[in-house]
Subunit: 468 residues, 2 copies
């Protein structure tokens, strides 16, 4: 157990000296927005919110926090789904919102150097203007920060063809808990120079250091894409079609799965009646291909359509134009919000080898039947990444807090037995901590704790996340 | 300084109990082949060579070595270029040569599970028979082991389009120095579950644990490729053409650079007279494109040919058939051997953002002129990865051992100033250790040492590699 110092006027004055009074927030109405993220209905109030504007300021803040043993929780856009940015121990919340500059788009080397507080979509649009592409696009891309994406190793629909955040991060400037500043690597595509500190920081959920500069690789922007929505009479068949598509040699740029409820709730939520859902439909696949040659894309779409037809699908909806494409993507991106608006829920971020998806889906439903919970499943099926939204609905608080965690553990045991893991892109944060032992032995957990100690010997940075 | 126990009869008997006498080698003629790898002319004799055949045996060997504080150097195919597999402190050499089974090719999930002692080309051929592709292909692929590739995070020509080893490793079974066995991750494409132990082990040069099982992702095998050899009158122009090709939106599946000497020596070495080299030619680019649509590939080749023409190139040689392609690739793959046959040499594995290649090449030549050494440069230009072979030629031993390291340090300082690093794919091992401080501050080096300590508290595993 780690006992932290309570933030007092001495500390606040030190922070004001470094940042200026405007960037040291302490009033309840200023603190309130930083007490929650998008994780369930959790709330933890920080003692103070700091808004540094430079690496140097972050470094000095960390020196002060080290000196006084104050807990520090770094925060990006606040869109996290595992509670990684929640100040569970109070203390200092360090917001990166002023780190909002794209520092350099290097068209010669297809790289971008950015600060962590840039909104992911803003970054994507900026490089797109130069004909370049940064693919990772979590559903929250309109409000999440690129720094948060790095903390969680985010994915999104495009990951199936283009990979996740870790596949684009070349180099990071990181402020350590001591206040020391390091660069983790170099701005190169290949690197065999010592341990991979870059990949250690990616996905470390703000527990090892505070990222203050980011170098990402970019790729040429594909010029065209095509999109189709395929209804299936059986959700397991939809999942089975997913791996058949890859086994036939196709690599779609997105391959999203939505159970009937997911799409239906989203249609209602965004008031979009353009997508009729037949009575016998149990699930949909949203399938995109992209590239530079429209004729080839059409061929690919036809090939994929031929495959899904073998899995008892209904009438395929081909998006005719960019308006219809945008409308279908909007539905997909709003599913999480739609589910949230419907009920209190818990979202599990399961991931398995993609051919195991039908087994996973069937298992989730069986476990749900035994524990009495309803689930709405959707996600990045091409990656084997299934978001299982467990709906509170009519469950009592006792059921919700008592037996449900056992049901979740059963889902995770199943995931593990299929070669998968308990988080594909949301992270462990606060809420998945109790399940880490399912994935990792004591030996592995000890290694992780020792790594944490190497970066953060006194445990002040984002305490209580990933492990206690 | 770490003082190790000398291997004696007690230890040998313990090893024989675990492995059987046949797999505990101690005679000088049995030890000799394990005293060197492909790094310069270095020799270090181990006290004993062990050949375990199972994870359990590796684990028991490590328990014994831990108990008695014996140094252990793991070794794959022995093709390393930085001395990572050399038993600098004597003691135990642990060969993975009996771990030579491909355990499962999972066509449903596009994955392969293999032991580390499988030769890379054998693995590639086995998955190719199923229409699958494992792209990383170091020049030594006919003799190197996949486990060694993971230790060094190897690359090779295909990395420019398909990435390096780290981009294919999903999960590793690792025996820790204590003898404990862990799996680093899961068999999935996305993973946000705790620290990325998988990527920490990749490229760690056998200093953190001994990899005993490997899960790799695969991709569908491209059906066609085209190859051309482009001569340039200026080596810097050849380098400049490289980034122009990418800026035009092309992503070749290989883009190799060879200075005149490199190709000329290779032609002589493999006695292949089919490639005439005009007198005014200073460098070549070997350019490959691959994909499933021959017409498109032809279009791409024409587009790329149009670009290189702007950089004052000579007559382009298009490979007509698979025989000519194989012949050109053979030349490229034998350059290193050809250089080695020509003179004692040191190979530096520089890597920079690709548009900086012309600056790097010019700088290498200037530094060479000042220190009086000749260099032959070639490498994976598409990745900005330039192998600088420094030829001993007429240099005295005094120059070779005295002033040359200062020249090398200058090259590495230049590399760093260009945003690059001192090893792209060969690793640090023994020979690049003195230059690590150029890339990393004391703070970063301290972090790496602490990580090493977390895995290997007593420092018995591959001592003296990466850092002292």
């Amino acid at each position: 157990m780690n006992y932290f110092t309570t933030v007092d006027e001495t500390h606040l004055e030190a922070f004001r000296q470094v940042l200026g009074a405007d960037f040291v927030l302490t009033t309840p109405e200023n603190l309130a927005p930083y007490a929650h993220d998008e994780t369930e209905d959790l709330h933890y109030l920080p003692s103070v919110v700091l808004k540094p504007g430079s690496t140097e300021q972050v470094s000095r803040v960390m020196e002060i926090c080290s000196q006084y043993h104050l807990p520090v929780t770094p925060r990006g856009g606040g869109t996290g789904l595992s509670g990684g940015a929640l100040p569970q121990h109070g203390g200092v919340l360090l917001s990166t919102e002023r780190f909002n500059r794209i520092l350099q788009i290097d068209e010669r080397n297809l790289q971008v150097t950015t600060e962590p507080g840039v909104i992911t979509e803003v970054l994507q649009d900026a490089v797109k203007e130069r004909g370049l592409f940064y693919p990772p696009d979590p559903s929250s891309r309109g409000s999440c920060f690129i720094g948060g994406n790095i903390a969680e190793n985010s994915g999104g629909p495009k990951a199936v063809k283009y990979g996740v955040v870790k596949d684009y991060v070349l180099n990071l400037e990181v402020v350590l808990p001591s206040g020391e500043v390091i660069w983790t690597g170099a701005n190169v595509l290949k690197n065999s120079t010592g341990y991979n500190l870059t990949q250690l920081v990616v996905g470390s959920e703000g527990t090892l250091g505070i990222v203050t500069k980011i170098v990402l690789r970019l790729i040429p922007l594909p010029k065209n894409d095509l999109l189709m929505l395929v209804p299936f009479r059986s959700a397991e068949n939809a999942c089975a079609a997913v791996s058949a598509i890859f086994r036939a040699g196709y690599i779609p740029s997105a391959l999203e799965f939505m159970e009937r409820d997911a799409l239906e709730w989203a249609v209602k939520y965004v008031d979009n009646s353009s997508v009729p859902i037949a009575d016998d439909v149990q699930a949909h696949l949203l399938i995109e291909v992209d590239g530079n040659y429209p004729d080839l894309l059409m061929q690919e779409m036809e090939g994929i359509a031929g495959i899904v037809t073998e899995f008892d699908c209904g009438e395929i909806l081909f998006a005719d134009d960019s308006v219809q494409k945008a409308s279908l993507w909007k539905l997909r991106r709003r599913v999480a919000e739609a589910v949230k608006a419907n009920s209190v829920y818990k979202e599990e971020d399961t991931v398995v080898p993609r051919a195991e998806l039908p087994v996973l889906l069937k298992g989730v439903k069986e476990i749900g039947a035994r524990y009495g919970f309803h689930s709405v499943c959707y996600g990045h099926a091409g990656d084997g990444n299934l978001h299982v939204n467990i709906i509170k609905g009519h469950l009592t608080d006792e059921q919700w807090n008592g037996s449900l965690p056992k049901g979740i553990a059963e889902i995770f045991e199943l995931v593990k037995s299929l070669g998968g893991t308990i988080s594909g892109e949301h992270g462990i944060g606060l809420v998945q901590k109790p399940y880490m032992h399912i994935m990792f032995t004591d030996t592995s957990m000890h290694l992780m704790r020792q790594i944490k100690k190497a970066f953060d010997p006194t445990g002040i940075l984002n305490p209580g996340k990933i492990f206690d």
